[in-house]
């Protein structure tokens, strides 16, 4: 069921390519030793190189190169053993050198693939065109002084990976899934923390439309620097509708760079093609071509973690999970790991239900994270065991779980302390049933006369009498036997 937008003249298809800028997880910048910590005081993490001082020279940070290679391998992409850094020249106050060191003709990573999982259970392969390393610019602060702008160079020189997709995405939903999946892979690899609020993951979207069924590629507009998945989706949809409207009124779309106003939900022109920069790319003469050591690439390859796609398949195969459940669990490496420690050697479906149900609910409710969970995997596993061996009913288990959240204690201890063990002693349950029947002869008579609905009322009364501890299956069986004979 392809995504189409209805116009007055017919259905339109959206063509989307994404450029994701992912900040490389590294304690030092791409070409200087300065620190990269987020949120430091302005201009406290700036070396002479980052400030573009005369005579300063860049020296490549080996770790950032390894991170780019790791990411390339994680995206099943071609690793280019020789790549070249180029200068992208333009003037701006927060670009101290007057150029950004980037990669142009020869990026470090070439063609790759990313698989997105559609909600209908199908999956789609999205082409990755390239990944290149580049340095970030500084930040201009225009709201600190009535007539001047302030410049913070802390970010200047920080290593970014620009990951460019092919124009293979066809809906805002696919774009969202692509970003989420890319972020998930980056986090698994530990090459980018994926934090969109802090700007360590930013997205430019290239959007064009075409009549449904057509294969042409029409003029695209680039929407710059969108910083949440939801905004990317809104921006794409707005932009696509804008294109359709222009075309249907007989107009043409100009290639241009646009900005998304998240407050108004609209995109607006930032600079037109005529004002587009001529970046005058040329190989940076301060840096030699980057030649990778094959042994280094092999070492990184051997050390790659199991990635979401492989993990998902394994969860489906080994734990018998549905594709959907497996997909949810593997989205974050930490939740996948948490699930595995709960599920190992236990009823995996029961474990999955508890992790995705009550446990995820508790994370939301408490605002805690999976790295600092309100209930440990060991304790949740113990709870699953206690349900499985009949010590706890489902209902009791929920009560115990609530107590676990409250106290942090393990379920066995709580059951002991609160006497919450399920009653499976036939005699005790029968006694409780007898007491309720003796107190309500009229209702017993009604059931016998055929009013089966009242059975539920009896179950409730007996549960109440046993403080919920009666084993529900046994209670039902005994009650039926006693009343109906």
């Amino acid at each position: 069921m392809a995504y189409t937008l209805q116009g007055e003249t017919g259905d339109w298809e959206v063509v989307i390519g994404l450029e994701v800028h992912a900040q490389v997880t590294s304690s030092a910048k791409l070409f200087s030793g300065a620190a990269t910590e987020f949120g430091a005081d302005p201009n406290t993490q700036v070396s002479f190189v980052d400030a573009g001082m005369p005579g300063m020279l860049p020296v490549i940070n080996r770790y950032c190169v390894e991170q780019a290679v790791r990411t390339g391998l994680g995206l099943a992409a071609q690793i280019n053993m020789t790549s070249v850094f180029a200068r992208k020249n333009y003037f701006y106050a927060d670009l101290p050198q007057g150029y950004q060191i980037s990669q142009y003709e020869l990026p470090i990573v070439g063609n790759g693939t990313l698989i997105i999982d559609m909600p209908d259970g199908t999956s789609k392969h999205i082409g990755i065109e390239r990944l290149h390393l580049e340095q970030d610019a500084g930040k201009s602060l225009h709201d600190q002084h009535p007539s001047k702008s302030y410049i913070d160079l802390n970010r200047s020189g920080v290593a970014l990976m620009e990951i460019v997709s092919k124009p293979d995405l066809r809906s805002p939903e696919e774009a969202g899934l692509y970003i989420a999946k890319l972020r998930s892979i980056l986090r698994y690899l530990g090459t980018c923390d994926g934090n969109m609020q802090e700007g360590s993951l930013r997205c430019d979207a290239n959007v064009s439309v075409r009549p449904k069924g057509s294969t042409e590629l029409r003029t695209r507009c680039e929407i710059k620097n969108v910083n949440s998945i939801r905004f990317v989706q809104q921006a794409i949809e707005y932009e696509a509708r804008r294109h359709i409207e222009v075309y249907e009124q007989g107009g043409t779309i100009d290639q241009e760079t646009r900005l998304f106003d998240s407050g108004k939900g609209v995109t607006r022109s930032m600079r037109s093609k005529e004002h587009a920069h001529d970046y005058r790319y040329f190989p940076d003469p301060d840096l030699l071509p980057l030649v990778l050591d094959p042994a280094m690439v092999e070492t990184i390859k051997a050390g790659l973690p199991e990635l979401p796609d492989a993990k998902k398949e394994r969860f489906i195969r080994d734990y018998g999970l549905s594709a959907y459940d497996a997909g949810v669990l593997v989205a974050e490496r930490a939740s996948a790991d948490f699930f595995e420690s709960v599920a190992k050697g236990r009823d995996s479906k029961l474990a999955a239900n508890w992790v995705m149900g009550d446990f995820f609910g508790a994370l939301n409710a408490t605002g805690r994270t999976i790295e600092d969970p309100p209930v440990t995997a060991a304790n949740l596993g113990m709870l699953v065991d206690l349900i499985k061996d009949g010590t706890l009913s489902g209902r009791l288990a929920k009560d115990v779980f609530a107590l676990m959240l409250e106290t942090g204690k393990d379920p066995a201890t709580l059951i002991e302390e609160k006497g919450l063990k399920q009653v499976t002693d036939t005699g005790a349950i029968e006694a409780a049933i007898d007491a309720v029947m003796a107190a309500n002869p009229d209702k017993v008579a009604e059931i016998k006369a055929g009013k089966d609905k009242l059975m539920g009322w009896f179950v409730g009364q007996v549960m109440k009498a046993t403080q919920g501890k009666a084993n529900p299956a046994m209670l039902n069986e005994l009650l039926a036997k006693k009343i109906k004979g």
Binding site: F48, N89, F282, P285
Partner: protein
């Protein structure tokens, strides 16, 4: 005192070691000359107090037995090297008030060897020029005069014109230079001194204000081959802060001056004898060949067919890199700022006021050749030709050990001459530019005087990182030339 200023670095090192005089005395003698010869405008910033403090410290080190290889030797520093706490201008208005909080690797190495800095030497603005007339701080005057016309002020060559003039006028014992297309060798030739542009990658570029990164190389300028060898030994070395610095061992270059060049093959490129070559220059070149033959070397005619493309290639590559390297002079963080109503206006006003004509010309050329639609026709093609020029030399060095050429097509010319047409000026570097494009070591030494009494230099070109052979041959030629002439009155 003047006698001290006439010593070579090697002699001064020996006599300082013997305790015949102190670094303070040697420094005072040079400070006196620096002050009395201010009219040459060789210095942009003089640092006599600092120099005397350093000289005292140097004498103290020597007393403790910790003397370095250039202990107590007063030098001048081309004002393209960043020097910590000392104004560094690149002879440009745009660096007004800039005091680097760091020291370039080369000058730091010289300091470590015990050298004393007398001050910062004048140059063409951002090292762009061949006559030292583009400096914001005014032209430098060559201490040499025409015999026939002693009143006319001559250029010292460029861009390291202040360095060459100061060395020739005995204001400093040696000086640092930088060479992008001939900026050490051509002024050395014009001022009758020795200067070597070592192999690209020999000296760290860290802390040297960049002109054209793939060509810029620091080197020494002094009055003898041995002095240059001593200085280069202290300046050179691998620097992890410069990715293009070569991880090569630094030889004892002075030791290479064995005087024995028997059996060495010396290439004489036929393309270096263009139609307009001054007769005197051609004659001194022939004389050079004779000296080498007499010393047992074997001259071999070679061909460097792509030579004629070197100049146009250089004037694409160097401006392209300069247009990008000079983008950082934007008025935002250091140096000159001329306020404007908008950021763009501030940029325009600052850069218009800050850069001189020649710098602006090269930025414009460089911006043009890198522009979309022109890149392939100019920059990409120039890079290919550059490769061919380097291949010319590689082929030649399969059969010869060193190449001998003139350094410059003419002796020094008058200030104001050749300045109408930039291309005529650029022709000064026709013999030095191919070496720069190929990254090879090139040394200029004084071989004799023109009929009008001006020094003429010859250039020796070596294999990559084979400065030793270059120095060895230069040493033999220096002895043969017996160049003892000095500028009138010096």
């Amino acid at each position: 005192m003047t006698e001290l200023a006439n010593l070579t670095i090697a002699e001064a090192c020996d006599r300082l070691a013997k305790g015949e005089f102190t670094a303070v005395e040697l420094t005072r003698a040079h400070v006196a000359r620096m002050e009395s010869l201010r009219g040459l405008n060789a210095f942009i910033t003089e640092t006599p107090d600092r120099a005397l403090d350093e000289a005292k410290a140097s004498d103290a080190r020597r007393a403790k037995g910790e003397a370095g290889s250039l202990e107590g030797i007063p030098l001048g520093i081309k004002d393209l090297f960043c020097t910590e706490g000392v104004p560094t201008t690149a002879a440009s208005h745009i660096l007004d008030g800039f005091r680097p909080p760091y020291e370039s690797t080369v000058t730091a190495n010289l300091k470590k060897a015990g050298a004393i800095g007398l001050g910062k030497l004048n140059l063409d603005e951002f090292a762009m020029g061949s006559a030292n007339i583009t400096s914001y701080y005014g032209p430098v005057e060559n201490p040499w005069k025409r015999r026939s016309d002693p009143a006319t002020k001559l250029v010292p060559g460029g861009s390291s014109g202040g360095s060459a003039a100061a060395v020739a006028a005995r204001m400093v014992m040696g000086a640092t230079g930088t060479d992008t297309g001939g900026s050490i060798r051509q002024p050395a030739s014009f001022c009758g001194i020795v200067g070597i542009k070592p192999t690209y990658g020999r000296c760290s570029r860290w802390g040297i204000i960049a002109f054209a990164s793939s060509l810029d190389q620091a080197g020494p300028m002094a009055r003898t081959v041995k002095d240059c060898a001593l200085m280069l030994g202290a300046m050179a070395g691998h620097d992890p802060k410069d990715s293009t610095s070569a991880p090569m061992p630094v030889q004892d270059f002075a030791k290479a001056l064995s005087g024995d060049i028997r059996g060495l093959k010396v290439g004489i490129p036929k393309e270096y004898r263009p139609a307009g070559l001054a007769e005197e220059v051609a004659a001194i070149w022939d004389k050079g060949v004779e000296w080498l033959k007499a010393a047992g070397a074997q001259p071999v005619e070679i061909s460097l067919p792509y030579t004629k493309y070197a100049l146009p290639t250089y004037y694409i590559v160097a401006p392209a890199e300069c247009s990008s390297n000079l983008a950082r002079y934007d008025g935002v963080r250091f140096g000159l700022r001329v306020e404007g109503k908008t950021l763009d206006e501030m940029y325009k006003k600052t850069r218009a006021a800050g850069f001189g004509t020649e710098v602006r010309r090269r930025i414009l050329i460089g911006t043009y050749v890198l522009s979309a639609g022109y890149y392939d026709a100019y920059y990409a093609k120039a890079q290919k030709v550059r490769r061919l020029i380097a291949d010319d030399f590689n082929r030649a060095f399969e059969t010869v050990d060193v190449i001998l050429t003139p350094t410059a097509p003419t002796p020094a010319f008058a200030i104001g001459e050749k300045s109408d047409d930039p291309v005529t000026m650029w022709l000064n570097d026709v013999f030095t530019i191919p070496t720069s494009l190929a990254g090879l070591p090139g040394l200029s030494l004084p071989a004799g005087l023109s009929s009008d009494g001006l020094p003429l230099g010859l250039q020796l070109i070596g294999r990559p990182f084979d400065e030793e052979t270059v120095f060895r041959v230069a040493g033999v030629m220096e002895d043969a030339a017996g160049f003892t002439a000095r500028p009138e009155g010096i």
